[in-house]
Amino acid sequence: MPWEFRGDQPIYAQLMDQLRRRIVSGDLPPGARLPSVRDLAAEAGVNPNTVQRALAEMERLGLVRSQRTAGRFVTEDEAVIRSLRQDLARAQMGTFLAGMAQLGFRREEIMQMLEEEGGSL
């Protein structure tokens, strides 16, 4: 999965967002070791201080933990990952509903479409 950054938001926040998605999707499974700051910076093409900041923030949120010499690891706390999954899903839903509202869809129409389209899931 390539790293992509938009201009209008702080890069550390975008980096965190993409790391969160990787954790939820299983790209970065529980207990997985994260690349070093330098490697991650080079891979994503961003400043090492920015990566450091994003990882420190992830650590503060309990999503990753650091072991003094071994590096940083994804949390193995499944409750944390479950709640992260819910958060991301809610945000995704919010975007979807806002987009549908902009197109003029009402609640019942949206529900009906979900029922119909849901069959293909």
Partner: protein, 231 residues
């Protein structure tokens, strides 16, 4: 200790004021973009930091010292135009840098030349313009300096080499050294910047952390630049 500090820095060339009362400081471990349109004073500022020019008023300090023989050992400078002896081979240039600079890491330069498939046997003057720029940048970045002053390092090279150069800057990152790079090609480099310094006709118009600027203005540095300097 600041790697670079300017206090009321002013430079006049006759009636022209190239830099007007510029003050800022750069801490160790920062990658800083010196941004501004043509003629805004970027090259003048860099030349003042190397000691090639002297201030009309105010001061500029490298590790708390005025530019001079001592600071030259701490600073790796990439001039805007290729300035190496034309008749030398690439290998000859490596020897030249090794003689001049005790902090030159020959094996690092060799690796980078290899990666960009530049043969050390080639004569400098027979290289294309872009390749000459790459060679000089490689030699500059192969020094283990405390301050790198890169004047338009990506202006003349192709996009693939540009990515490699940015990658080199990121991988070479050292929390003890700072990098200042001047450019007007902001979109290409803004992701690697910690801080930005905007110059406009010799005046400092904006300075701060790149992420903070993006957050406050809700736009990329590139978009902000286009807005601020709209012609």
């Amino acid at each position: 200790m600041n790697r670079l500090e300017c206090r009321g820095l002013t430079k006049q060339f006759g009636a022209l004021t190239a830099l007007d009362d510029v003050s800022f400081a750069i801490q160790p471990g920062r990658i800083v973009g010196l941004l501004g349109p043509n003629g805004s004073g970027k090259t003048t500022l860099i030349k003042l930091a190397t000691g090639l020019l002297v201030p009309t008023e105010g001061e500029i300090l490298i590790n708390d010292q005025a530019p001079g023989p001592e600071t030259k050992g701490m600073v790796a400078y990439l001039p805007e135009r290729p300035s190496l002896p034309q008749w030398m081979t690439v290998k000859g240039l490596q020897d030249f840098y090794e003689d001049f600079f005790p902090d030159f890491r020959r094996e690092v330069s060799g690796e980078m030349l290899d990666r960009l498939e530049i043969s050390p046997k080639r004569k400098y003057k027979q290289l294309s313009k872009g390749t000459r720029e790459k060679v000089q940048l490689i030699l500059t970045m192969s020094r283990k300096a405390q301050l790198y002053l890169l004047d338009e390092p990506i202006g003349g090279v192709d996009p693939a080499a540009r990515d490699y150069i940015l990658d080199t800057i990121i991988r070479g990152y050292d929390p003890e050294s700072s990098v200042i790079l001047s450019t007007h090609l902001i979109a290409d480099i803004e992701r690697v910047l910690d801080d930005v310094i905007f110059l406009d006709r010799g005046r400092l118009t904006l300075t701060g952390s790149a992420d903070q600027v993006r957050e406050q203005k809700g736009m990329s540095i590139d978009a902000l630049f286009r807005e601020v300097y709209r012609c």
